[in-house]
């Protein structure tokens, strides 16, 4: 199986594996005061410092969670109290569904947020919480977060950044971005599933979504998942930037375009590992199944609840309804190789030739 679905989950990095296995041997509860507890606490706090340093926050402003969804939800529930929520139209469901009735900020055909529209929205109305993802999970589009942060500051709004897909792939730094909070997920940067974090601007208070026990300075109750968190920190440290993958991605893209594909959002600044390829007239699920049978794992969008392959809400929001039902996402993992790309492009070309043959297209 050639795995090109990194935006669903990245393979575990060896550094993370070592850290997870070492932490699995620790018996203690990080909140216990005896020796075993203190040893666990030490790993927890080292992990916190490591994540904080990597992404531009102070250790005290890192709140560990069970993952990116909880991190987004807790930040938006907590910081959005008493504020209206404005969210990018292509945000992940974890963000869009965290607020009752978010106002959507439109994006252009390449998936980039309309900043003049944001400015108008901010100028007009009560204090807001703006949610803008650092990079999109389906197209890889990189949003102008720092510019949005400046607008938010000027209008007394808070900015929450879903950095789940960006962290570890392109530089992301909370302080440099000027954002108020950010959500991270361990397994999207080569760590284990089951850990994530909220980063907060210094001094920003966050009421708990999961309460009790007093862990994480009262901002998130529950015994911390130490092995997952240790693996998270090790992966965050190991994940530099993924720019080397751009060359492989571009090669794949060129070959697929030659086979008839259209690159969705290709003109935007993008994550180096992601491409969204539409094959006009061929349903996305048909493509994904054909590639699965050829031993290649890709997806038709976000890997979430239903397992069903539906139209892409993201591509619809980009104003490309004709492509929304026939695009697949190809996302290269940190350990992708040139031969993976060759195998993929060959399979893609065979698939495109077969599925786009006039007889089938008309049937």
């Amino acid at each position: 199986m050639i795995y090109l679905d990194a935006n669903a989950t990245e393979p575990l990095r060896p550094e993370a594996r070592a850290a997870v296995l070492a932490a699995l041997d620790l018996v203690g509860n990080p909140s216990s005061v005896h020796g075993a507890g203190r040893a666990a606490r030490r790993v927890l706090e080292d992990s916190r410092e490591s994540v904080a340093a990597r992404f531009g926050a102070a250790p005290a402003d890192v709140v560990f969670t069970a993952g990116g969804t909880e991190a987004n939800a807790a930040a938006i529930h907590g910081l959005g109290r008493g504020r209206r929520v404005i969210a990018g139209a292509t945000e992940h469901d974890a963000v869009l569904r965290a607020a009752d009735t978010p106002v959507l900020l439109p994006v252009d055909h390449d998936g980039i947020a309309d900043l003049p529209a944001l400015e108008r929205m901010l100028a007009d109305g009560p204090p807001a919480l703006v949610c803008l993802m650092a990079a999109n999970n389906e197209t890889g589009a990189v949003q102008p977060v720092a510019e949005a942060a400046a607008l938010c500051r000027a209008h007394g709004a808070l900015l929450h950044v879903d950095a789940v897909q960006a962290a570890g792939r392109i530089p992301f730094d909370l302080r440099a971005a000027g954002a108020d909070s950010a959500a991270l997920s361990a397994h999207k940067l080569g760590g284990p599933k089951g850990a994530g974090a909220i980063l907060l601007r210094p001094g920003l208070h966050l009421p708990a979504l999961v309460s009790g026990g007093g862990q994480e300075r009262g901002r998130r109750g529950g015994t911390e998942s130490l092995p997952a968190i240790a693996g998270f920190a090790a992966a965050a440290h190991a994940a530099g930037d993924a720019s080397a993958l751009a060359e492989l991605r571009d090669a794949a893209e060129a070959a697929c375009v030659a086979a008839g594909a259209i690159v969705v959002g290709g003109a935007a600044p993008r994550l180096p590992n992601t491409t969204c390829l539409a094959l006009p007239g061929v349903r996305a699920d048909t493509q994904v199944i054909a590639l699965d049978l050829a031993g290649i794992a890709v997806s038709a969008g976000a890997a979430c609840s239903s397992g069903k392959v539906a139209r892409s809400r993201v591509i619809d929001a980009m104003g490309l309804p004709d492509l929304a039902g026939c695009a697949i996402r190809v996302s290269l993992p940190w350990n992708a190789t040139a031969s993976d790309i060759v195998a993929f492009t060959e399979a893609y070309a065979r698939m495109a030739a077969r599925l786009r043959s006039p007889a089938l297209a008309e049937g």
């Binding site: 005896h34 969804t69 999961v210 976000a302």
Partner: protein, 391 residues
């Protein structure tokens, strides 16, 4: 003082339990080779992870006599307790229910008490019931709290500090008769005592992985289907876990949790017998060498792995400091850094001065006779030395 052991002696199994080596074996391949996202149904790696998750869910369900689809996987019992209590209250309110009273017990875990307290800000009426000095609920007190204004009652299966087991079946019958939802925090009970959702009549039940020799970071909420217990999610997103708990599941943790539940179902009674033997051995020696030691709370309705002991003449903090090789605690791990006396001990009428002389000793599946011999001898020697210094 007995000779120092070559490794710390871990007697804090209510704070967290060591990972069972069999659980470790089951989990590790999912950290390393099988890394698929279980929600990626579109390709083989995702489906493999999904199958493993569903097998594990079956083991969790079997431990409590539930159906797999009644199990909502969470990041742990704290999240499960939050989800059960806030979720049930919010769902009922959104449906226009007039019931506003949310009942719990003074000795519950902090996360249950805080979840109930949080609901006050949303227009609900928290009620916290007292317990008797033996730590058990008076069933008449429960009955008085259940009427047509009561939405939910939350009673833990086993207390984390004093180890007593509440009569869930009796409370379940009373709740059902009054149309009140019944939630139980079974973090300390699941895998330790038989807990069957039909027999206890619970509508909602929380379980923790790391309290039954599984990994930290995973737990579950049982949500009854017939008659259906309805709850609102704490947070939304990708819609996983029937929309009640969004977020990518962590297959290594889920698989480890499932294996821990499978082992617990098979070995619970064997564990309980062996642990009771170790406890008796420990207590015999300690009581002989420390006359006047007091066992708090009910002596019979309790799990074998817990002892809450008030020493006659030395402070718990001093005992712990004198014995760095012995891992015991002064109360729940969450609040163990606090200087405040345990609210659980206060609730059963232990004076603060005696609470300061009280240790929790938690035995588990991997506690050996040598462990308890060391612990008893070391505690007796340290107590003697501290008492002599004070005198």
């Amino acid at each position: 003082m007995p000779p120092r052991p070559n490794r710390p002696v871990y007697l804090d199994n209510q704070a967290t339990t060591p990972l069972d080596p069999r659980v470790w074996q089951a989990m590790v391949p999912f950290f390393t080779e099988h890394f698929g996202n279980p929600h990626s149904a579109e390709h083989a790696m995702g489906r493999f992870a999904e199958e493993a998750v569903e097998t594990a869910r079956g083991h969790v369900a079997a431990l409590i006599g539930a159906e797999p689809r009644e199990i909502i996987l969470t990041s742990g019992a704290t999240e499960a307790n939050n989800l059960a209590i806030k979720g049930a209250a919010r769902f009922a309110a959104a449906r226009g229910s007039a019931r506003r009273r949310v009942v719990t017990v003074a000795t519950e875990h902090k996360c249950v008490l805080e979840s109930v307290a949080d609901l006050a800000a949303e227009g609900f009426e928290p009620v916290v019931l007292p317990v008797r000095t033996d730590g058990l609920l008076d069933l008449d007190t429960v009955a008085a709290a259940l009427d047509d204004r009561t939405l939910l009652i939350s009673v833990m299966a086993v207390n984390n500090e004093i180890g007593v087991t509440q009569d869930l079946a009796a409370i379940g019958r009373m709740a059902r008769a009054k149309g009140v939802l019944f939630h139980s925090d079974a973090a300390q009970g699941a895998g330790k005592i038989p807990l069957d959702v039909a027999e206890t009549g619970v509508d909602l039940l929380s379980i923790s992985g790391h309290k039954l020799y599984g990994p930290k970071g995973i737990g579950a909420l049982y949500v009854r289907r017939r008659p259906r217990a309805r709850i609102a999610p704490l947070f939304s997103g990708g819609g996983q876990e029937r929309g009640l708990r969004s977020g990518t599941l962590a297959p290594p943790l889920v698989v480890g949790f499932g294996e821990a539940c499978r082992i617990a179902a098979a070995e619970m009674l064997l564990d309980a017998g062996r642990i009771a033997d170790q406890r008796d051995r420990f207590l015999d020696r300690l009581a002989r060498d420390v006359p006047g030691i007091v066992i708090n709370a009910n002596r019979t309705r309790r799990i074998p792995g817990n002892l809450n002991l008030t020493f006659p003449a030395a402070r718990a903090a001093d005992l712990m400091q004198a014995l760095p090789e012995l891992c015991v605690s002064t109360g729940s791990a969450c609040s163990s850094a606090e200087v405040e006396p345990s609210y659980v001990l206060r609730a059963i009428g232990v004076p603060d001065e005696a609470a300061a002389r009280t240790l929790r000793v938690g035995l588990g599946r991997f506690t050996s006779p040598a462990d308890v011999d060391y612990a008893a001898a070391a505690l007796a020697a340290a107590h003697g030395a501290l008492a002599a210094k004070a005198a």
